[in-house]
Symmetry: C2
Subunit: 126 residues, 2 copies
């Protein structure tokens, strides 16, 4: 007996599932975190994050924008300048994200340790 009742979990149909899939992306959390301190430019994000390609950054930003989590501000200057910032809605995601990063800070070592200790978690007898 696991205690899951209908509507008690996001395990099948509830809206939470959608939101989880929103952020269950390699870059979404990182990008949101990068914007957590204020408006940041496209190029700044590239350097800040390190490892993301322009394409994926743009793609991620567009999706976040479409979901109402960030706002895009393009200045008609030369060279072009585009700043992204969290919307109030997006800002509400920072707290959960911070919890995740705090968890990571606290337990990252343990995870790496487990990875190191259990290279073959399933003892198959083949």
């Amino acid at each position: 007996m696991s205690g899951f009742g209908p509507g008690d979990s996001f395990l099948a149909d509830c809206p939470a599932r959608l939101a989880v899939e929103l952020i269950a992306d390699k870059w979404t959390v990182v990008v949101l975190y990068g914007l957590s301190k204020g408006p940041v430019r496209h190029g700044e994000l590239i350097e800040l994050i390190g490892g993301i390609s322009r394409k994926m950054l743009t793609q991620t930003l567009r999706r976040l924008q479409a979901h109402g989590l960030i706002r895009r501000h393009a200045y008609a200057e030369v060279p072009p300048r585009v700043e992204y910032e969290l919307t109030p809605l997006g800002a509400t995601l920072i707290d959960p994200i911070h919890m995740l990063t705090e968890w990571a800070r606290a337990n990252g070592d343990a995870v790496l340790d487990a990875l190191d200790a259990d290279p073959e978690p399933v003892a198959h007898s083949d």
Copy 2:
């Protein structure tokens, strides 16, 4: 300058990045949540989650196991029975995940609303 100093963020090299990539997966969070109430069998998870294939479930479980977040318990019975449960380390992830699901519960509608309102977030003049 937005206030990120070296070591201040997970934006480039710190271990938090690794952990974020651990859970930044379509199914990881859902599976962990599914295990949050106690040991669950493989087949139960399939039905509980709804939409995950056996392959992806196995794959996700293996990864979580390798990272030390869950433990696998195979009973030598017929028909075979395999139960998965959170390790203490994995249990520490439940709180952050709960924050995420709470956020989703609270703001899922707003996200869907934004999706509905902004079908074309970038006003390209092409």
